[in-house]
C-alpha cells in the first residue's frame, strides 16, 4: 500500500521563516529583494512598454528552419538528444563555437571551449572558481547589471572603473591596480564587455585594448572578456577582441548564442587556459552536469549547415533601424541637458538626464505612464548612476520605442519644470534645440 502523503501545510508561518533563516548560508544575506525590484513587476503587464529588458528579437527566426532542425533531430539523433551529454559540451557545438569565434578573428581549438548554460552560467562559473570571499574583482562602471548579483553571491569586493566614450579608463585601472598593490592586494580578475558594452553601449578603443592586455600580462591578472554582442555591429570596422590580442594567455573569453540565435536555447561558452578550464568543467559538473543536449544538437547543426551569418546580419539591420529610431525619438523628446551615446552595435543606449533628476524617481513616474527602463544605479555597486538609465532597443518594435521614449521624455520634462519652479532657476525652463552629434558620437539636447 502506498504511504499517505504528509498533509499539505497551508502557507508558511513566521516561525518557519525563522527556522529557514537559520538554515541559509551567510552569502544569501546579499541576495535580497528590493523595493525597486518589486516595482519593476509592473513591466510584466501587457500595456507597459518595456525598454528595460535585454531581449533579442526572436520573432524573425524562420519557422521552417526551426522545423527542419527539429525534424532532423527526430529522425536521426533523438535518443542522443534526449540523453545526458559531456560536461564540457557536445563536440559539434564546440567546433561551431570555434567557427563563430573565427568570424571575429579569433583562432581557437574547439577543445579549449567549455559549453555553458547561457553566458550567465559562464560568469557564474568563472567567479565560482576564482573568487574567495573578500577577493577583489574589477569591472566597468557602469557594468552589466546581471553580473552584480553573481559577483555579490560569491562575496567579491567589487571595484568599478569609470568608462568614457572609449570604454574603461585604463589610466584609472592602472591607478586602482597600483593602490591595491600598495595594500598588498591584487584583483583576481578584470571583468569587461569591451564591445558594445552593456549597459553603456560603448566600445573599448584599440589603443586601450592593447594596453589592457599588456597590463594583464605585466601584473598577471586575468581579464574576463564578455562578448555577447560583437557580431551585432551596425557600422564601422570590427576591432580585435582582447582574446585575439592576447592569444588566450590572460584573457578568459565568454561568448553566447543568446544574441545571435536564441536566448531560449541557453547556450554560452568559456574559452580559458587549460588549468582554469579544468576547474570550470568540475564546477559546471557540480552545478548542472551538462548543458541541454537537445539545444546543443539544434545549435550545432544550425551553425554548421544554416545561414547563420545571414540571420545575424538581418538582426543587425533590424537593430540598427531601432537604434536610429530610438536616438531620433530621444532628440525629439528628451529634455535639454540630457545626453546619450550612439552605440555602433549591440542592444542598448545609455542616457544621462540633467543631474537634478534621479532616474529611480523618474522610473516610478514612468511606470505609472506605462513605460519601463533600467535605472542607472542598477549598474553600479556604490550608488553612482543616479541620473542615468539603460534603454533597450533590440526587443521593442519601432512604434513602441517612439511612444516609450516620448513618455519618458514627458515625465522627465515635467520633473525638470517642477524642480526649476521650486529652485527658481530658469535655465532649464525651455526645451533645448536639437544639436548635431559631436565627433565622439554623443548626442544631447
Amino acid at each position: 500500500m502506498a504511504a499517505q502523503p504528509a498533509p499539505r501545510r497551508p502557507g508558511t508561518r513566521s516561525k518557519d521563516l525563522e527556522r529557514y533563516a537559520s538554515l541559509f548560508a551567510k552569502r544569501t544575506r546579499v541576495m535580497r529583494s528590493s523595493a525597486m525590484r518589486d516595482m519593476m513587476e509592473i513591466t510584466a503587464r501587457p500595456e507597459v512598454i518595456s525598454l528595460a529588458g535585454g531581449l533579442p528579437d526572436t520573432s524573425t527566426f524562420p519557422p521552417e528552419a526551426f522545423a527542419a532542425e527539429m525534424d532532423r533531430i527526430t529522425r536521426t539523433s533523438l535518443a542522443e538528444a534526449l540523453q545526458y551529454g559531456p560536461t564540457e559540451g557536445v563536440d559539434l557545438v564546440r567546433e561551431q563555437i570555434a567557427q563563430v569565434m573565427a568570424a571575429e578573428g579569433m583562432d581557437v581549438d574547439p577543445r579549449e571551449v567549455t559549453v555553458t548554460t547561457g553566458g550567465q552560467q559562464a560568469i557564474d562559473l568563472i567567479t565560482k572558481v576564482l573568487i574567495d570571499p573578500g577577493d577583489v574583482l574589477i569591472c566597468d562602471a557602469p557594468t552589466y547589471p546581471g553580473a552584480i548579483p553573481t559577483f555579490c553571491s560569491y562575496e567579491a569586493d567589487i571595484r568599478q572603473i569609470e568608462c568614457d566614450g572609449d570604454g574603461m579608463r585604463i589610466d584609472l585601472l592602472e591607478e586602482t591596480i597600483a593602490s591595491l598593490a600598495a595594500e598588498g592586494r591584487k584583483p583576481k580578475f578584470i571583468y569587461s564587455i569591451p564591445t558594445f558594452q552593456n549597459p553603456g553601449g560603448v566600445t573599448l578603443s584599440l589603443e586601450r585594448r592593447r594596453r589592457l592586455v599588456e597590463l594583464a600580462a605585466e601584473h598577471e591578472i586575468l581579464v574576463v572578456e564578455d562578448n555577447p554582442y560583437g557580431l551585432l555591429r551596425f557600422e564601422g570596422d570590427p576591432l580585435p577582441t582582447l582574446h585575439s590580442l592576447d592569444g588566450g594567455n590572460y584573457v578568459v573569453y565568454l561568448g553566447t548564442f543568446s544574441k545571435i540565435l536564441s536566448a531560449g536555447l541557453r547556450i554560452g561558452w568559456v574559452v580559458s587556459p587549460r588549468p582554469i578550464r579544468e576547474k570550470i568543467v568540475l564546477g559546471k559538473g557540480a552545478s548542472d552536469l551538462c548543458t541541454s543536449t537537445l539545444t546543443q544538437d539544434f545549435a550545432g547543426h544550425y551553425f554548421r549547415d544554416g545561414n547563420w551569418r545571414e540571420y545575424v546580419d538581418d538582426l543587425a539591420g533590424i537593430y540598427r533601424t531601432r537604434r536610429d529610431t530610438m536616438i531620433a525619438a530621444m532628440s525629439e523628446h528628451f529634455p535639454h541637458g540630457a545626453s546619450w551615446n550612439k552605440p555602433t552595435g549591440g542592444l542598448f543606449v545609455w542616457a544621462t538626464m540633467p543631474d537634478v533628476l534621479n532616474t529611480e524617481d523618474l522610473l516610478a513616474k514612468a511606470l505609472l505612464k506605462g513605460v519601463a527602463f533600467v535605472p542607472g544605479t542598477a549598474a553600479y555597486v556604490d550608488g553612482r548612476g543616479a541620473s542615468s538609465m539603460r534603454l533597450n532597443f533590440s526587443g521593442v518594435k519601432e512604434d513602441e520605442i517612439i511612444e516609450g521614449i516620448r513618455r519618458i521624455g514627458a515625465v522627465a520634462r515635467e520633473q525638470l519644470q517642477l524642480y526649476e519652479t521650486m529652485t527658481n532657476t530658469n535655465e532649464m525652463r525651455l526645451p533645448g534645440r536639437p544639436r548635431g552629434e559631436d565627433e565622439s558620437g554623443e548626442g544631447s539636447r
Binding site: 513566521s14 516595482m39 519593476m40 509592473i42 519644470q417 524642480y419 521650486m422
Partner: protein
C-alpha cells in the same frame, strides 16, 4: 467556498501584492476553498460575474486596490470582500485626509504640511517652503500622499534639499506631505476585527546617526514581536491604534504605524490592506497572538461575510 483572490494590479506595489496573493491563495486552497486568482485587467468584471465568488479576498496594495476603487466595484457587483469598506480605504490611502481625521478625533499625529504638484507648478507655492519648514521643523520627512509602502520617502535635514525630496515624493503621487520627523521607536499595531494584535517593533539595522532612510528600506530593519514595552506604554499604544482604526472607520483588518516618542505615541499612517507576505508585519503579529496564517485568512473571510 469559492474565493476570488484579487492580486497584482497596476500599482507600484504590484510585486508585494503578487506575493501576498500567492500566499493567500496557497493557504485558501490548503483549507479546501475553491480559489480563483485574478489580476486586474479589462476582463475583471466579466470574470467576477462568470465565476460569482462567494467572497473576494483583496490582496492588492496601493492605488486601485487599497484606495476603494476595487471595493466600490465589488459592492456594485454584490460580492462580499475582505478588509475595510470603500470610504475607510479612501481615508487610509490618502495620508493627508487620514491625518485630518485623526486630528479631528483628538488623536496624535505629527505636524505636517501638504503640497500638490499643481500648487507648486501653477500657484507659486514654492515661495512658502520657508514657512512650511518653520512649521514642521527640520529634519522632516517628505512622502507621497498616497503610497502604501515606503516608496518615495525621503528625510530632509537641510532646507536646500527640500526640492529634491519633493521631486522624489511627487514622482509617486501628485501630492506630497512634509511631516515633522519624530524621533522614537517604530511600532506597528495590526488590528483584526475589533481587537489589536501584539505590537511589532522595527529596529533599524543601520545605526548611522543621520541615515534615517535605512529604516524605510527593505532589510533595513529587524522586527521584534511582541515589542518589549512597559505594560502601560503598550496599553497606551494599543488604545491609540484602536482609536485610529475606529476614527477612520476601518473594519476587517488594518495596520496602524506608530512612532513611540518621549511624549507618547504618534500615528504616522493606517494601511487598509496591509501586506500578507511571509515577511509582512500583520501575519507576524497574528502569529504572536496564536493565530496562524490559515486561521487569519479564514477569520478575514468570516469578517468579510459578516460585513456584507
Amino acid at each position: 467556498m469559492r474565493v476570488a483572490v484579487l492580486q497584482g494590479g497596476r500599482s507600484l506595489e504590484r510585486g508585494v501584492s503578487l506575493r501576498s496573493g500567492a500566499r493567500v491563495s496557497e493557504t485558501l486552497a490548503g483549507l479546501g476553498h475553491q480559489v480563483d486568482e485574478l489580476d486586474l485587467s479589462a476582463d475583471l468584471v466579466s470574470r467576477l460575474e462568470a465565476n460569482r465568488p462567494d467572497v473576494a479576498f483583496i490582496a492588492l496594495h496601493g492605488t486601485e486596490g487599497e484606495d476603494g476603487t476595487i471595493q466600490s466595484l465589488l459592492e456594485l457587483l454584490g460580492i462580499p470582500y475582505t478588509g475595510p469598506r470603500v470610504a475607510a480605504c479612501q481615508r487610509c490611502m490618502d495620508k493627508v485626509l487620514a491625518k485630518y481625521v485623526l486630528r479631528e478625533n483628538g488623536l496624535p499625529t505629527p505636524d505636517w504640511v501638504t503640497y500638490s504638484e499643481a500648487a507648486i507648478r501653477d500657484f507659486g507655492a514654492a515661495s512658502t517652503f520657508g514657512r512650511a519648514i518653520e512649521r514642521v521643523g527640520l529634519p522632516l520627512v517628505a512622502k507621497p500622499a498616497s503610497q502604501g509602502s515606503s516608496l518615495g520617502i525621503k528625510v530632509v535635514t537641510e532646507a536646500e534639499r527640500l526640492p529634491d525630496a519633493l521631486i522624489t515624493a511627487l514622482s509617486y503621487d501628485s501630492r506630497a506631505l512634509l511631516e515633522r520627523w519624530v524621533p522614537g521607536r517604530e511600532l506597528s499595531v495590526s488590528v483584526l476585527g475589533d481587537r489589536s494584535l501584539p505590537i511589532v517593533e522595527a529596529i533599524p539595522t543601520a545605526s548611522h546617526s543621520f541615515d534615517f532612510e535605512a529604516r524605510y528600506e527593505i532589510g533595513g530593519a529587524d522586527f521584534i514581536c511582541p515589542a518589549e514595552l512597559p505594560a502601560e506604554r503598550a496599553e497606551e499604544v494599543h488604545r491609540v491604534a484602536l482609536a485610529a482604526y475606529s476614527a477612520l472607520h476601518c473594519s476587517g483588518f488594518a495596520r496602524v504605524d506608530v512612532i513611540l516618542a518621549d511624549e507618547g505615541p504618534q500615528i504616522l499612517e493606517v494601511n487598509a490592506v496591509p501586506g500578507l507576505t511571509d515577511t509582512s508585519l500583520l501575519p507576524q503579529a497574528a502569529e504572536a497572538e496564536g493565530i496562524p496564517f490559515d486561521e487569519l485568512v479564514e477569520r478575514l473571510l468570516e469578517l468579510a461575510l459578516e460585513a456584507s
